[in-house]
Assembly symmetry: C2
Homo-oligomer: 119 residues x 2
């Protein structure tokens, strides 16, 4: 039963768009990630996804609107909803989502990361 310091975990790596696992509960992972630039349009067929902004401002594009999520704010994206995260400046986030969740959802591309590291 570890005590996890989120900012300390985020200091351990520098890659963008490469989530790291920092905890597990009820068949979900708690992950941290650094984001910069545009990701890609995708959705998660069976998984709701929580983004909690630790640093910076994340823009998430949806097909019908755009959400701007600031430091200290979170958003839950329901399963099936297409979205594209965009980080104009570097953004640090916590993600909470089922163990089965792939970062690129229904898309497999060079941005897909499988076998996430635990830190």
């Amino acid at each position: 039963m570890d005590i996890v310091n989120i900012v300390q975990k985020l200091s351990l790596f520098n890659e963008f768009w490469s989530p790291k696992i920092v905890g597990e509960l009820n068949n979900s992972y708690v992950k941290v990630a650094k984001l910069k630039g545009e990701f890609l349009w995708h959705s998660h067929e069976n998984e709701d996804e929580l983004f909690w902004i630790i640093k910076g401002t994340l823009l998430i594009k949806f097909r019908d609107k755009v959400a701007l999520i600031k430091e200290g704010e979170l958003i839950i994206i329901p399963k099936g909803v297409e979205h594209m995260p965009v980080a104009e400046e570097e953004v640090h986030v916590v993600l909470i989502e089922p163990i089965s969740t792939l970062n690129t959802g229904d898309i497999v591309s060079e941005r897909t990361v499988e076998n996430l590291a635990k830190i």
Copy 2:
């Protein structure tokens, strides 16, 4: 799909030991709570429980040790593990746990809160 500001949600109420629901994902709730004083020994038979400290320092007693969790830190308490949260000074937390989770776990007492408010 709401954007949730955790500190703003915590400003909406003053009761201690009365978690409020601020989000839902994958059959779990995201809750906020204010804690002060001792709670009670309990465990959650089937539910892992995440405590994320937003303000203050939370002490959690276990049968074999004590954990001190500070602002910006989180701990995940596995199902079945007896624990007693103690907030010597006021503590603000985010809790993430299955919808089925009762605050007092296997104990029903005057500290039990059913039918949590959504804020």
